[in-house]
Symmetry: C2
Subunit: 131 residues, 2 copies
């Protein structure tokens, strides 16, 4: 991540479209394996902090607050790059994931298929993640 070194980080966001609630969807992808790890929303401040610190920040709609991924669990996401789509209203964070992305103890939140089959091993007991 070199966005923090750019002269004007605000210019990076000028073309992004945030929704009526000030949010933009973020797809989180493992930069090495390309596995999709999770999906979340960010507001302008969260994207800005992600650029400045190099660690993934989001906005929680249920808790109505900014959060740094892993601030409690230690399961940080180091962000290597941020991509945007043709309409510039969705982001991809390309990350190195410490431990589990999913609060249920799986590497990725996408550990089930639509038929309900679990397709990933559980790495941690959820109660050992948040103590």
């Amino acid at each position: 991540m070199s966005y923090a070194e750019l002269p004007d980080t605000n210019a990076l966001f000028a073309k992004l479209t945030f929704d009526a609630a000030g949010l933009i969807p973020v797809i989180v992808q493992d930069s090495a394996t390309k596995d999709v790890l999770m999906f979340a929303f960010a507001n302008r401040e969260a994207v800005s902090l992600t650029c400045e610190t190099g660690y993934a920040h989001y906005f929680s709609r249920s808790r109505n607050k900014l959060w740094k991924k892993g601030e409690e669990s230690g399961h940080l996401q180091k962000v290597h790059d941020i991509l945007t789509d043709c309409d510039e209203d969705v982001l991809i964070y390309l990350v190195s994931q410490e431990g589990c992305a999913c609060h249920e103890g799986y590497r990725s939140c996408f550990f089930r298929d639509l038929a309900g089959n679990v397709i990933l091993p559980r790495l941690k007991d959820p109660k050992d993640i948040y103590r």
Copy 2:
């Protein structure tokens, strides 16, 4: 895709959470390369048609209608599997993409980084996609 052969496809959707507008976000990932190709929304009917036909269907918020990806352009997406996340309110379609996912003629809609650098080759002139 074998969902169409299941005895009760409605049961597959019973646990999914659709938002207040009846939509669920869909991340579209190339099943072979794992590249994220696009991001869209689906309603219950679109997910159902995707399961039944094996080809990706979505709901367009701007046009307020159901659409089959590639119905005009020929750039169909054959769906091999559908994953859901821990909260069962986001889907991943794992697809084989015919041609370009992006209406701007790139393989993926995520052809730019946040700094504006184009990171993918353009495969087609957009005016040759929709005639």
